[in-house]
């Protein structure tokens, strides 16, 4: 697995771990904050965006603020 793929995987795992009933949508910041010890901030941001292109994550927005979630929680 390339570094990129590995990071995307980590991101998805993060979402699987943190999504629970009543709390499924997260800010980019939440994820970056948790993973930034291991990875560079920009790389995490890019991985999250790449996930939305793959469809493994989805953007969720109120119009004014933007969050991410797993497709099944959309």
């Amino acid at each position: 697995m390339s570094n990129d793929e590995e990071l995307k995987q980590k991101v998805i795992e993060w979402f699987q771990k943190h999504s629970k009933e009543g709390h499924t949508k997260f800010y980019m910041k939440d994820v970056v904050h948790d993973l930034c010890g291991q990875y560079e901030k920009r790389a995490i941001q890019k991985a999250m965006n790449d996930c939305t292109v793959d469809g493994t994550l989805k953007y969720w927005s109120t119009g004014s603020s933007t969050m991410f979630c797993l497709p099944e929680n959309f």
Binding site: Y27, M28, K29, Q45, N49, T52, V53, K58, Y59, W60, S61, T62, G63, S64, S65, T66, F74
Partner: protein
């Protein structure tokens, strides 16, 4: 469902150009707008919005640029069941050639409702009313033709500039050039919401501030000059000859008594007192001009009332030269964004964060030296830190 829309129709009358007329024009081609008119009538009857909250859509890879919208009663108004808007970024200064405009119109008639806001109040072209399915095709076709989405959500919103050097003799820097450069440089930040909340950049070429940067951008650039304004005494004489009351209308209104009539001549008798408010220049554009050592003041923090009340931007950098490639400005902005991103709570704008952490902490974090120009007055309370 009643098809008559008497209340809406009422607004076809009257001298001011009617949006209802526009709706009806679009309704001829688009069933969605037929329903939209009925929805508007319903709102008038019920005195309430007929739209549901949010509902989220976007185009591939982008986290912003689309506002999802669904009607409350899709069974009654099926053609606006999903009626999203797309925010399309504008060329700096809102300059267009008709070819580009016609292209947008054609794409939008093909994929959407044919209704627009030209423009939205941030400055985007608002394509108003799109089904979920048509979002991606609309975007694809737009981007093929050189247009791209603007911001929405927790991202950098479409930066805007006053017309500046495009037409205005007072532009103290190239507002259009700067804003275009910034827009291009930060495409990532525009399209992929990385921040705690929205953030805005606007640039006005002089203190008249024709894009209202000081009122509505977290990072506001406003043109100014460091030397003295220039006066052409011949032109002054022309104004006087035309019975323009220089004393009453100009001199008496200078906020700092910097400019005076001395034996028929208009003189900047106290150049060090001029606060470059533009008033005298505004009133006598043929006779008075800004200086030649021009640049910008950078102010930060403006925003609308949510949550702690509206804020106007406040001085951060009294003077900076504004020249391509604008490195210093961009580095400053990036530093600010980093601090905000690091410390900001969700839905907390820059000004609110500064208020919460304190201006001194902000200055320290972004490595800017304090100076008296930043404040109207020093503090009155004795509560300061040395730690």
């Amino acid at each position: 469902m009643e098809d008559k829309t008497p209340m809406v129709d009422e607004l076809e009358k009257g001298p001011w150009p009617s949006y209802v007329k526009e709706l009806k024009r679009a309704a001829k081609k688009h069933d969605s707008v037929k329903d939209l008119i009925k929805v508007q009538e319903r709102s008038f009857q019920r005195k309430m919005t007929q739209w549901k909250h949010g509902g989220i859509v976007g185009v591939k890879g982008y986290g912003g640029g689309v506002i999802g919208r669904y009607v409350q009663n899709p069974e009654e108004f099926p053609n606006v069941a999903a009626f999203h808007t797309m925010r399309v970024n504008h060329p700096s200064g809102w300059f267009y050639d008709t070819k580009a405009l016609r292209t947008i119109c054609d794409i939008w008639d093909k994929h959407g409702s044919g209704m627009t806001n030209f423009h939205g109040s941030t400055g985007d072209i608002i394509l108003l009313g799109c089904t979920t399915e048509e979002l991606q095709p609309t975007f694809d076709e737009l981007s093929e033709h050189g247009f791209d989405l603007g911001g929405s959500g927790s991202d950098l919103r479409s930066p805007t500039a006053c017309v500046g050097p495009g037409r205005c003799e007072w532009a103290c820097f190239d507002t259009l050039g700067l804003i275009y450069d910034i827009t291009k440089t930060y495409q990532m930040e525009l399209h992929r919401p990385p921040y705690p909340y929205k953030t805005k950049i606007k640039a006005s070429g002089c203190p008249n501030d024709c894009v209202a940067a000081i009122a509505r951008s977290d990072f506001s650039l406003i043109g100014t000059w460091r030397d003295n304004l220039r006066i052409d005494q011949n032109a002054v004489k022309e104004y006087a000859d035309k019975k323009f009351d220089i004393q009453r209308l100009v001199v008496a209104k200078c906020p700092t008594e910097a400019i005076e009539l001395v034996k028929g001549k208009l003189e900047l008798t106290h150049p060090e007192d001029c606060v470059r408010c533009m008033h005298c220049i505004n009133l006598m554009p043929k006779a008075i001009r800004p200086g030649v050592d021009t640049g910008a003041t950078i102010l930060v923090g403006a925003k609308a009332p949510i949550i702690h009340g509206a804020v106007l931007s406040t001085v951060l950098i009294p003077f900076i030269k504004v020249q391509p490639p604008y490195t210093e400005i961009k580095q400053l902005w990036e530093k600010i964004m980093e601090w905000w991103d690091e410390n900001g709570k969700t839905r907390e704008r820059l000004a609110e964060l500064i208020d919460r952490m304190g201006m001194p902490a902000f200055l320290k974090a972004i490595d800017v030296e304090p100076c008296p120009q930043m404040v109207n007055t020093p503090r009155a309370n004795p509560y300061f830190f040395w730690g």
